[in-house]
Symmetry: C2
């Protein structure tokens, strides 16, 4: 690991801030413990559309429209969309962007998309390459089940280690501002890690090593420790994956158990049929843009690390016997402290 002694941490000198967020979720997510924090909760997760794919697209369009409208009300205009989704060829994001005539940087990082989007958007805004950027991500339970597992109509039973793809979207507007908003201070691009997990129903175990790897790289290079943060928030490791992450990280000398939270665990806490918790690119995106953002604005969270976690498999790679690589990008966020 000696050849790793290179600067890899990204430090933002111009304090890009998250000045506006939007979130929307389905009825199951809305009835969970974070229900009151989401900007919008659907009563019908098909949204009167003919296909779940169209409903998923509506979710993303909805949050992008709210961000765009917020900017228009300030006499400004959205300049860049940075984001992605889980559907093949990123059709949700592309079709949502088609309606908007705003430049689009499509990303694919599975369920780690929201932290990759925040990282890339912050680089563009911090460096003056774009006046603003919206980082966004989305997923839908029913379209994800159809694409990755089985169509709902088949009524397949789910194994106990499986997770539940969140129906939801979240968007964070990043721009430079003098206002009292949460700011993105540092970031670290994830490396692909693979511990040889081949069970496609056990994503948490496949993704935990990636989160550990990025966290440890961050701590080692910055000399920070878990105690310097109010929260270390992963995306959708679920109950089992979270335990694995805490153990793996402890083995490397960092005990994160007292500050670690996982949006996949939080979103369905105490709900029936939650299995290992929520997953999907929209899970961390919707929770970060609502409950977490409110805590950052209110100063309850003064300093946090956000690491959405992605499992980089496809149905083809699994059928061909490949194990599941994971990735996790990290973003450091500071809450509004002087309030």
């Amino acid at each position: 690991m000696d050849d790793k002694k290179y600067r890899e941490i990204i430090t933002f000198k111009n304090e890009p801030k998250i000045t506006l967020t939007s979130s929307i979720v389905g009825p199951k997510e809305g009835s969970g413990p974070l229900g009151e924090y989401f900007h919008n909760v659907l009563s019908d997760d098909k949204m009167d559309e003919k296909t779940f794919e169209k409903a998923e697209r509506n979710l993303l369009s909805f949050v992008l429209d709210e961000i765009s409208t917020g900017l228009k009300n300030e006499g400004d205009r959205l300049k860049l969309i940075v984001g992605g989704d889980l559907l093949n060829q990123l059709t949700t994001t592309s079709f949502a962007a088609r309606e908007m005539h705003v430049p689009l940087l499509g990303l694919y990082s599975a369920c780690s998309t929201m932290s990759e989007a925040l990282l890339v958007g912050s680089v563009f805004v911090d460096g003056g390459y774009s006046d603003n950027a919206v980082a966004c991500s989305v997923s839908h339970f029913s379209s994800a089940e159809r694409q990755y597992r089985f169509p709902l109509e088949q009524g397949t039973q789910r194994p106990p280690v499986s997770q539940w793809t969140v129906t939801g979207a979240g968007a964070c507007l990043i721009k430079r501002s003098d206002g009292a908003y949460p700011k993105i201070t540092r970031a670290l691009v994830g490396e692909v890690e693979d511990y040889g997990i081949i069970d496609v129903n056990n994503m948490g175990a496949a993704m935990a090593p990636a989160a550990m790897s990025t966290l440890v790289r961050f701590f080692e290079e910055t000399n920070e420790s878990p105690q310097n943060y109010d929260m270390i928030l992963t995306g959708d490791l679920g109950v089992l994956g979270s335990e694995i992450l805490c153990e793996l990280t402890k083995d490397r000398g960092y005990d994160i158990s007292s500050v670690h939270k996982d949006t996949g665990v939080m979103i369905y806490e105490n709900a029936p049929q939650k299995f290992q918790g929520g997953s999907g690119a929209g899970c961390s995106a919707s929770v970060l843009s609502s409950y977490i953002y409110k805590a950052l604005v209110g100063g309850e969270i003064k300093r946090m690390l956000f690491l959405a976690t992605g499992a980089l498999l496809s149905t083809t790679s699994s059928q061909q016997g490949e194990s599941i690589p994971g990735i996790s990008h990290l973003v450091e966020i500071e809450g509004v402290i002087n309030k």
Copy 2:
């Protein structure tokens, strides 16, 4: 279009340069007119692997290894991979990156990936967010046919407007340097355009409006004209798509016909069974990293625009009756002039 009067062009102040490239192609591409320019030509496009997906991964690993080795020989280390491919969930790129332990930013922009990768990589390097970055993309005829159309074993006939997915990969190393290398000077992120094309075998027609839109936005904001460039290079519009682009652009007041080239047309020129030409994310990546790079280094091309073009459809979106949106990101490159 009045609300578009915002600065959207990205200007690179620190002259990020393409200091090293690598390319590899299959036998069909190697026997074409650009054959002698590719760094490597395969005799067997399955590369002795069990699946075409593994062969595709090998293509990308091959060019990434060459870049990585080149850096190591200078006592340096690859810091960031920026790129993508056409396979679902970006498995080619993720699995290739897994072997390397280098941070990965996965992008999806269909066949426009190479210009998105150059743009994003240049932003990271220009702004000092990464010491270097490799922009890369790849495609494989046989894996693309299986995923998007029909398995080869089925022996389906191809309609005359169809294109041929290039088996190939290309990689460009971007870093700041005092040396005499081609430099990336400006860039523009593409918007999603959709003229309602629904024929999945006629990608050129679906993508041409996106290239036109980005080009015209670039000319309007910079006051440049086609005559200021030695070459305006699109990715894989093919013969028909190139004609459509030239006409659409002329309608908007810019005649690019004398300087326009398309890597999809170039790669199979005069070959049998070329149909409308080459396509695929590896088409523009491999041609840019070989033939074009050589002309930039030699000063034959002093100033060019590179716009890879992507069709943002999926098999699901087509089956659901959706039209095909396109996108095209633009990068301005200057050759080595004082030679």
